[in-house]
Amino acid sequence: MNPYRMTAIALTATMAAAVAVAHNGATGVVRERMEGMVAMRDAMRDLTPMMRGEAPHDPAAIATAGQAIAKHAGEAMTTLFPEGTGGGASFAKEAVWAAPQDFAALAEELQRHAEGLMRAAPNATAPQTDAHSGMEMGVMKGHAGMEMGEAKPPSSGPGASYSVAQLLGLEPRKAASVQAMPATQAKVSAAPDYATMAASEVFRMIGETCAACHGRFRSGS
């Protein structure tokens, strides 16, 4: 390959990377953390069709994406948010520095889930088609509602996955949303056993963590 061509390729790659993040002229640590976010976004993008069940299950791709996210999560993320780097090109809200422990907790949770995704990578993405998994969604949802006693949810119809109390916010939804876990663990779920979970379920948890963080610490949408 001639040097001109190599230079051209290198230049194109650099420009592509720049375009991806420099929509608002971020520099230094702000730019660095934006690049990390973009890398995580792209990892999520690559897996989304598979997690929706529209692409074949690919354990290697899942593990790669999990690794990419884990690499930019946890401390790797929080060290890129030194005090006084909000405003300007940054989308970070002041809340990042007003509640640093909450921010760090979410960053760490993201790292745990991302590493968990690597462990769950071999598990088929669609548990309802896997008769041996023992964690079929419909079954677990049914159990979750049962403990409500008087208000037994019907097996179909609006809101069948939740009890009346859960729909009204009187009781936490967890009983229903931990449906991916074995029944014995549904009560106390300190550290989920990622290796026994469907990859799509761990992926969903990553999304929840992202949303919790974005909702509180990112301005815009």
Partner: protein
Amino acid sequence: MRGLLRSVILLAALTGGGYAGLRAWPIGEDASRITLDGDARRGAYLARAAGCVACHTDTAAQGPAMSGGAPLDTPFGSFVPPNITPDFTHGIGGWSKDDLARALREGISPDGQPYYPAFPFEFYAGFSDQDIADLWAALATVPPVAETRGKNDMRFPFSMRSGLKLWRATALLEAESAPVLGRSDDWNRGRELVEGAAHCGACHTGRGLLGGLDADSFGGNDDLPGGSAAPSIRAADLKEDGWTASALAYALETGITPSGDVFGGSMAEVVEQGTSFLDEADRRAIATYLLDAAPVPSDPDALAQLR
């Protein structure tokens, strides 16, 4: 500047129209008489879909369900979603089904006062008597909470509720969520949710100077309370951004978008406290409708900029 303009418009209208006359101006339809029995489960699902639970509960502060929400800061002042538990003093314990119907469908309190449109009653105009009876039955299962968590803090002149009667006469835009003959059940269910209960337009439709909804819906709004921004959700724009029906349904369940980004801002709350509770069939219906909604009408709307 916009804030000043808003005040000037309203004040001019108030002095011109006569404040006393405005106060005496009766609003609302004749009272309905709802005698239907409600289904608490259906009502609870509707309360979830319509955002009653999300807005009237201060989840971040771990407030009791329905006992009052987090303040919504707007250019008109700060709105605090009130206590809607069945407490007689602090909540809506003394309300009848008909009171609930009037509040939701017309935006009028039991004592005849107009509600601010921060309460998205315009979207609830199409609720059936059965919907109201169901909601009433669901709210009756909520434990009363004897507490008022906060009060509205409105800027003058918006603090004068009777000014809202002028707003109602000029800017109120009731949702059109009724089914359309010749469309699929799925599409019509999506329409009922998108245009009605789920009130997508409250954020995704632009608003005029006085907070009235744009007649051209779903074009997006970059100027939401709390610094949030809502993109256009018109079919053409959604498709251009790579959205498919299954991608939309999945995002409404998980927050994860086709670009790999995950919703933040108010949409994170909409998903967590709202659409993730919906049945998959309803999320699909919303997606079906959004991706196949009628083209935006192009008639110029003279009032659009002011309301």
